[in-house]
């Protein structure tokens, strides 16, 4: 490896939301009804704190990702500037700023899982799905990501798929699991 990294300046577009030209985001009536309760959790002078639960609500409504229009709607609702909302949305790995597949596979890569074979699990996922971390399969079924500790080290290695934990996995059991999911 070179002693010093190669550095060059890039003049390109920032990985920013493409534009706000898409349809404005509106909460469904069902979700709209939940908003007063969410806002009531925070003191009147700290209503902006509701940005996290509202982003999460919006992400669920949008099928697992947070489009720019949703960021715009929620920040306007809370009277905060757009970039403040964007800072929050980019800070938390909870929020996906690109559309994701039907199954979002999050492989834990923190040491306990790594020692128990998470690297092999990741390779299995990549090989079996034909995608790299951060990518989605062409059929829109799977999105793969490596994440930090999922707090289930007791049964490492762990994978989270959507909201379910799969623990004590081996390469074989993971392969079976992926095939099972692909079938349904």
């Amino acid at each position: 490896m070179a002693k010093y990294g190669i550095w060059f300046r890039m003049k390109c577009k920032v990985a920013n939301p493409s534009s706000s030209s898409c349809e404005p985001f509106v909460f469904s009536s069902e979700n709209e009804a939940k908003i007063p309760e969410i806002l009531s959790r925070y003191p009147p002078s700290r209503q902006v704190s509701a940005v996290l639960p509202l982003f999460e609500l919006a992400q669920r409504q949008c099928g697992g990702w947070l489009p720019p229009s949703a960021i715009e709607t929620v920040t306007a609702m809370l009277g905060m500037s757009l970039v403040r909302g964007y800072e929050v949305a980019t800070f938390y790995t909870l929020f996906n700023l690109k559309p994701i597949g039907k199954y979002h596979i999050q492989v834990c890569g923190t040491p306990p899982c790594m020692l128990r074979g998470s690297e092999e699990l990741l390779t299995t996922c990549k090989r079996s799905l034909g995608i790299d971390c951060g990518e989605t399969t062409k059929d829109g079924q799977f999105t793969l990501n490596e994440v930090e500790c999922l707090s289930a080290c007791v049964n490492a290695p762990v994978i989270q798929i959507n909201e379910t934990y799969y623990e004590n996995l081996t390469e074989e059991s993971l392969q079976d699991l992926l095939e099972e999911l692909a079938a349904c």
Binding site: K3, G5, W7, R9, M10, N16, S19, S20, V83, F91
Partner: protein, 692 residues
């Protein structure tokens, strides 16, 4: 008042001061990146770590309050090691491209690395790459160099009031960005370049133009609005390379407006560097100074004093104005006016035309009423002060006039001049607001004074000020003068202080124009007059003295090339009445001369020599005309006296006096950078309108 010890020196500091500030008072240097005295404390760069007894770990001194009995060490081996480690971390992803970086030579990271860093890097992996951002025509970015101190984010959010910059992402992928690649919509955006401690945000017009050690620095005063910001002109050879702010907490704190900072390229184009005379065919031809003066003398010889008039523009310094006034007096002409826009304001009493509260005084106010003004465009730094007061004390601001986004909440009460009368009669919610406030202030813009009924409105405003104790002297609150006139012309207050208003039977600006088109006036002397429609002077003999071939010069029969504000030592009086001096940074181009010298030389040819030959003598003359000119850099309270005129108020709404912030005078009109900013603004507004 806690007492603490830093490196064995004891100091007592006011409550709420930080360890870093206490150390600065003792003259002990602690290196910082994210800390900026005018911004909120972030504490995220960790460069200011110091050792405190009874603390197990090093503490960030910028965020640590100085507390009683604290014992601080800044020179121990552990502090040295902490600083080295922090710098090593900061430099991991820093490109170290100092040889091609504009910040080189005046870079905090460079200086601090040399003073406190390790001698060599131990890092051998690839560095991260951050795409450059597009922040508009003023700010060049090289985001690889960014060390995420977030000073720019805090400046945009706190001072400029445009929360458009943010730190997106986390950890190693954190970067500074705007949402949707927007340019920064602030008149103060150039200050981002100053607050950036590295070369991540740089000046686009100055990009790769000069090295800081090649530049000569000259302290000066900005003339592009009436705030009188303290600036530093950085010159190389015969060219202004850049303009930077100087700190003056009474006026501009550490900031200047984009126009003050970036319009200097206008000084290079369309300059008058030779005297010109209009020949019989109506074309302007080059001439010598002697010839030009002779032509003027020939024209003036048969004329009587009352057939000659003089007008003064917005960028003129006091020295030239007093010389012009003396010349007109010697010629026997009462027709002189420094109010080219026709503002209905008189030279007496002084309180009627000053920003009496003073700019720093805004921070004491507890209610502010704006009348016919858009301070964001007319005086961005006064607007920044209003915003500062809003952030500190939630200063309520109300406006009568066109609604504008000022960067803080403003209650708009419509655009009807009759509201002013209603307030006086106590029949408006604003009456109560003014009455209940302890330190109420009102800011009257040129949008009010330029109207036909300006004098009547001014009188109503004075009555409001008297009725609701906007001006008072009470044992509980002390002396307070909340009556303010916001000027936009750098020369205006100086002109009024020197009495450049029509003498007995003299004509004001519009009367001069009328009399000239009627043939009653035979000659008009324009000293830098470019902002008004001069077509009524078509058939009059016009002398234009100034530095740009703008509107005034195109009308002229004789052009006398003068000096721009960078090319002469001048005295300017800002809207508060603060008398400030600038120094000459360059020589005027070609045969151009300092303006008072031109008038002095002309007076000899006319056979009425003015009694001064040096700048010092002109300044003594200034003091003789108005003793206030003796004391510079301070504001003297003006005595409260009645002013204004009885009159009928018209129902016409207040109008914008500035069409575009970026182009308001002959210098900024010729600046390419300002033209780009204006274009950028127009594009953005059109896009905004389309989206809406």
């Amino acid at each position: 008042m806690p007492k603490l010890s830093i490196d064995g020196q004891e100091i007592i500091v006011p409550e709420g001061m930080t360890v870093l500030q206490a150390a600065t008072l003792l003259g002990i240097e602690i290196p910082v990146f994210c800390y900026h005295p005018k911004l909120s404390i972030a504490g995220n760069c960790r460069m200011c770590l110091v050792e405190m007894e009874d603390h197990p770990k090093p503490v960030a001194s910028c965020a640590m309050p100085a507390c009683e009995g604290a014992v601080v060490h800044t020179t121990t081996p552990s502090v040295k090691k902490a600083r080295q480690s922090i710098l090593e971390f900061l430099l991991i992803n820093h490109p170290l491209d100092c040889p091609i970086c504009d910040q080189g030579g005046e870079c905090d990271l460079q200086d601090i690395s040399v003073a406190y860093g390790r001698d060599a890097s131990r890092y051998a992996l690839n560095k991260r790459i951050v795409p450059d951002k597009e922040f508009g025509p003023l700010i060049e970015t090289a985001m690889n160099r960014c060390i995420q101190c977030t000073r720019c984010v805090r400046f945009a959010t706190e001072i400029a009031g445009v929360p458009e910059l943010g730190a997106i992402g986390r950890g190693e992928s954190m970067e500074i960005a705007t949402y949707l690649e927007k340019t920064i919509t602030s008149e103060l955006s150039g200050n981002l370049i100053d607050v950036c401690p590295v070369g991540a945000l740089m000046s686009k017009p100055y990009s790769s133009q000069a090295r800081p050690w090649e530049l000569s620095h000259t302290p000066s005063i900005d003339v592009q609005d009436a705030v009188g910001s303290a600036i530093r002109l950085d010159t190389r050879g015969a060219e202004v390379m850049r303009v930077l702010p100087r700190q003056n907490d009474d006026v501009n704190e550490a900031w200047i407006s984009d126009k003050a900072r970036f319009s200097y390229d206008g000084l290079k184009y369309q300059r008058l560097d030779q005297p010109y005379i209009r020949n019989k065919n109506g074309t302007l031809v080059l001439a010598s100074w002697e010839k030009a003066f002779e032509v003027i003398a020939d024209h003036f010889r048969p004329l009587k004093g009352h057939q000659i008039a003089a007008l003064v523009g917005d960028l003129v310094e006091a020295e030239a104005m007093v010389a012009l006034k003396d010349l007109m007096e010697a010629l026997g002409s009462p027709h002189i006016d420094c109010r080219q826009d026709g503002a209905k304001i008189e030279a007496n009493p002084r309180c009627s035309y000053l920003f009496n509260t003073t700019i720093a005084g805004i921070e004491r106010a507890d209610f502010c009423l704006l009348m016919g003004t858009n301070p964001r465009w007319e005086a961005p730094l006064i607007n920044a002060r209003l915003r500062k007061a809003y952030l500190a004390t939630a200063l309520p601001v109300a406006t009568i006039g066109l609604p504008h986004d000022l960067g803080y909440p403003v209650a708009s009460f419509g655009n009807d001049p009759f509201i002013v009368e209603k307030i006086l009669k106590g029949r408006h919610p604003l009456s109560t607001a003014l009455k209940e406030a302890n330190y109420p202030m009102m800011i009257i813009g040129q949008g009010v004074l330029r109207r036909e009924d300006g004098a009547a409105l001014l009188q109503v405003a004075r009555k409001i000020a008297e009725k609701y104790e906007v001006v008072h002297h009470k044992p509980s609150t002390g002396h307070w003068n909340g009556f303010n006139v916001l000027h936009t012309a750098a020369s205006r207050v100086g002109g009024l202080d020197l009495g450049l208003t029509p003498g007995p039977k003299g004509y004001a600006t519009h009367e001069i124009l009328k009399a000239a088109s009627a043939g009653k006036l035979k000659a008009v002397y324009l000293l830098g007059v470019d902002e008004i429609d001069l077509s009524p002077l078509e058939s009059t003999f016009v002398i234009y003295q100034g530095h740009h071939g703008d509107r005034g010069a195109s009308m002229a029969d004789v052009i006398l090339p003068g000096a721009a504000y960078t090319e002469k030592s001048g005295t300017y009086v800002n809207t508060e009445g603060r008398i400030q001096r600038s120094l000459q940074a360059l020589c005027p181009p070609g045969e151009a001369q300092e303006d008072w010298r031109i008038l002095r030389a002309l007076s000899t040819t006319l056979g009425i020599p003015l009694p001064y030959n040096t700048l010092e003598e002109v300044r003594l003359r200034l003091v003789a005309v108005n003793a206030l000119f003796e004391e510079t850099d301070t504001v003297q309270n003006a005595l409260w006296m009645p002013f204004g005129e009885e009159g009928k108020i018209s129902s016409d709404p207040f109008e914008n006096i500035i069409e575009s912030f970026y182009m308001t005078d002959s210098i900024s009109r010729h600046s390419v950078t300002m033209a780009q900013c204006r274009q950028d603004n127009v594009t953005r507004e059109t896009a905004h309108a389309r989206n809406a």
